[in-house]
Every structure is written in structure tokens, then in C-alpha cells.
Amino acid sequence: MTMLEIDALNVWFGHGRDRVDAVKAASFSVARGESFGLVGESGSGKSTILRAVAGLARNWSGRMAVDGAALTAKRPRSFYKTVQMVFQDPYASLHPRHSVDQVLGETLHLHGFADIDARVVKLLEDVGLGQKFRFRYPHQLSGGQRQRVAIARALAPEPDLLLLDEPTSALDVSVQAEILNLLVDLRRDRGLTYVMVSHDLSVVGHMCERLAVMKDGQIVEVMGVEALRRNAATHPYSRSLLEASL
């Protein structure tokens, strides 16, 4: 069963002479329960694909389907019960004036849950934060704790597909290990599907079963993680990327 299907996706910004094609004719599909990685250097368009799937990049053409249903320009609210996203910078993804309780409470309220109090408590437990963090503001949290809150927010609507945009690149390695472990556990416990963007091949190698290598908006190669480990990339660009990160 296919969770996410991307076919000949183009994404661009601006128009006329200022038009920049960020993603060109990208195609790949992700099975339900799979973890799929998108790797590339900055400006390769890997994050843009995630933003297009989430509905944050509005200029696109081609076909995108989540759980068999083709995506339209405007996403219904039910879409966000299936697809959620975790952003790169935990310092920018939480509203500076909203406490953890407000962030999670509002999300639950928007998705029409009734037992908000109990769910906030449960979500905080699930991401390993616990009750004492409930009424804190972002400036009272460390980077890793903020990212846990962001993950809790993404889990609140009980989605099936989680889009992870470099979720650990702004964190220290020891904190990165904790967050990656958390993501591994959550996927196993909840049967989530991940699409994870990263510039770090070893992180993608750890988290994903398959990955696509992107360069200048195009997918140059899709391979399994065993091929990556065996250093069996075929495309010269993937090889150079692999060499640089070893």
C-alpha cells in the first residue's frame, strides 16, 4: 500500500523572469510504514518537496497523492489529520509567546478533540517530557526539549505520515541521538510513515530504509540503505556526497 506518491512534481517560486525552479520532475513513492530519506546539499530542493506535500509551497504541478487520494491546491482540514511536519529549527518553530500547554492545546482543539487536558498530558509523556514542562514557554526550554514539543504537536492529530525537515541538524550530537531514538520508537509504536530530509547521510542511513539523492532540484538516484552502506551508489554525484561525508 502506498502512503505517498509523487509523480513528475515541479515546484517553483516567483514568476516571469524571477522564476526559480526549485524542484524539477521529481518522482518517488513511499510505502505505508516505510521511512524514506531525501538527501542533498542546500538548495537542492529537498525541503521544498516536503513543503509542497504539506501545502506550504503553493506553486506546483504534477501529481501528489497521500494514501491514494490525489492532493489539490487547497487542503481540507482532514488532510492535516493524516500528514504532519516537524521543522528544522526548534528555535523558530514554536511561538515565542505561547506556552507548551497553549501550543498543544490549540492544536488539539483545532482537530476537534474533546479530552484536551488528558491528551496534552499523554503527548508530553509520549515524547519523554513529562508534566513539569507543560506550562513552560519556549525560552525556558533547551533545543532538544523544544524539538520534543514540536514532535508532540505533530503527533497531536494522530497522523499517519510525518514529514521531518532536518529535525536534528540544529541540535548537539548527544541530543540528536535522543531525538532520533524517540523518532525510531514513535514510528515502531504508532506505525508511522516518515519522509525525512537531511544533509547528513549517516542520519538518513540510520533512520531510513530507502533514500533519494537530490541535486539542483532533480532526483539523481533512489537507492536502498544497504546500497548506501556498501558504498554502491551508482550516480557520480551520490558517490561524491558519500565520500565527502565519510
Binding site: E41, S42, G143, D172, V173, S174, V175, Q176, A177, E178, L180, N181, V184, H199, L201, S202, V203, G205, H206, M207, V225, L228, R229, S240, L241, A244, S245, L246
Partner: protein, 286 residues
Amino acid sequence: MMEPLLDVEDLWVRFPTRQGVFDAVRGVSFTLGRERLGIVGESGSGKSMTGRAILRLIRPPGMVEAKQISLGGVNLMDKTEKEMRAVRGQRISMVMQDPKFSLNPVMTIGDQIIEAYRQHNRASKADAYAKALEMLEAVSIRDPDRVMRAYPHEMSGGMGQRIMIAMMLIPNPEILIADEPTSALDVSVQRQVLDIMDKLVKDRGMGLIFISHDLNLVADFCDRVLIMYAGRIVEICEADKLSEAKHPYTRGLLNSLPRLDAPRDHLEVLQRDPAWSEAPSVSGRL
């Protein structure tokens, strides 16, 4: 070993806060010869503060205290702010993480380099221009004429960082402090910038302090590594022997990295021991 370029003894950086005095750096000592010295640690370990404190660039209300910070036998702690200005840039240069914030956005790169050069040397405009071109060539910039006319926003991150390095090297400093100079760059560009720094440091016999959070990068690039935790040095190793590090903190950091060649379900999580921050700082003086 010959006379060290820089001798730092018992360096403290303190910040008064509402909850009392916060010590960002606590009694750090080390020497720097003509070598590449790496300082590694996580955010908040005091590694950047150490670099800035050497140049006395800690903004008030922060305070720098030290038994000595000796540059060629002269204690920088005794210098006035005015005398320090002659040291900064001239004898010790610093390269920051993001070149975008270090270059003036409304001046061409050429004008900025020329200005920097003429600040330190008496030279005609034409001489300064020739010197600037030479500098850009030294950091492997192809087509330096075009780059001289360009504005910072037209440069990629890697180019910007190379230009910063070129500017820092103009006064021929004895010591270069590089604070996460490649963290904002892609891996392939990272390598090029490091190679350039490496070559310049070797050719000119400079001392380099390389501050980074990336253990593997530092192990690869430096000669000696100081590992900092909670404002103290917990361990010092030869860079090529980093994988044999003994301190549980260093070991924990190394083990928490995902590795392509050793897949596993869960990464090792660092268990922090309060005793680490209690133990006195290890001295890095030779």
C-alpha cells in the same frame, strides 16, 4: 617544543544574572604553539566564549578573568581597550560562523578588502587592489576580478567564508581563531574551505584555534583537541587518537553519532554525570 605563541592560564568568563553569577568558562588553561588546536564541545560548553575571551570580546556585563593570556610573552589582560584593538585583527584574527553577518552588505567585496588592508598598512589604492587580488587567489577564488566587484549577497556561503578568511589573513596575524567556520556550509564545500585554511596555516607558520561541535571534523583536521564540558576542559588528546579517548563524556559523544558502517536500532544516549562538571579543568598547557 619551542616558546608557545599563546599561553592561557586559569581563564574565567562570568556573567551576572538575576539568579546569581553564571560562569560560562571556568578556569581553562592551555597553550598554543604553531599548531592546529581544536576546541570541541556542545552548545553551552563555553568553547565560543573561550575564543572570544582571548580577544577580550566579551560584552559587558560579562567579565573575563585570567592569571594570564600571554601573546608572545605579553599579558593581554594588562592591555587597555585601545591597545587590544591593535592586537585584534593585527596579531590575532577571528573567523565567525556565518560570513553573511560579518561582511558589510552595501560595500563591494573588493572595497572591503582594500579598506581592511589600508587600515593595517600604508599603501596606495593600486597597491591595495593588487594585494587584495593576491589574497583572493590565495584562498582559491577563481576569477578574483569579478569577485572584487561583487556584493556579499551575490556570494555563496563557501565563497563568503573564503573571502572572510582572506580578509582575516591580510594583516598577517600570528594566530587565527576560527569559530565554527564551516558549520553553515555543505560538506563538499566544507572540505575545500578547510584545505585552504590548512594550507595557509602551514605556509605562514600560524597558530590556529579551531572551535567546533563536530568531533570527527576536528579529529580529522587538528593536531591537538581540547574537549570542553560545562565551561571546563575535561580531556585533551592528540587528534589522531581521539577514538581512544578515555573520558566518558568524549566517549559518549563519539558513540552517540549514527554510523553508516555500524547500523543499530538505537543510538547510545549520553548519560551525564554531575561529577564531570565538578572535576577541575584539565590543563592544556605544555
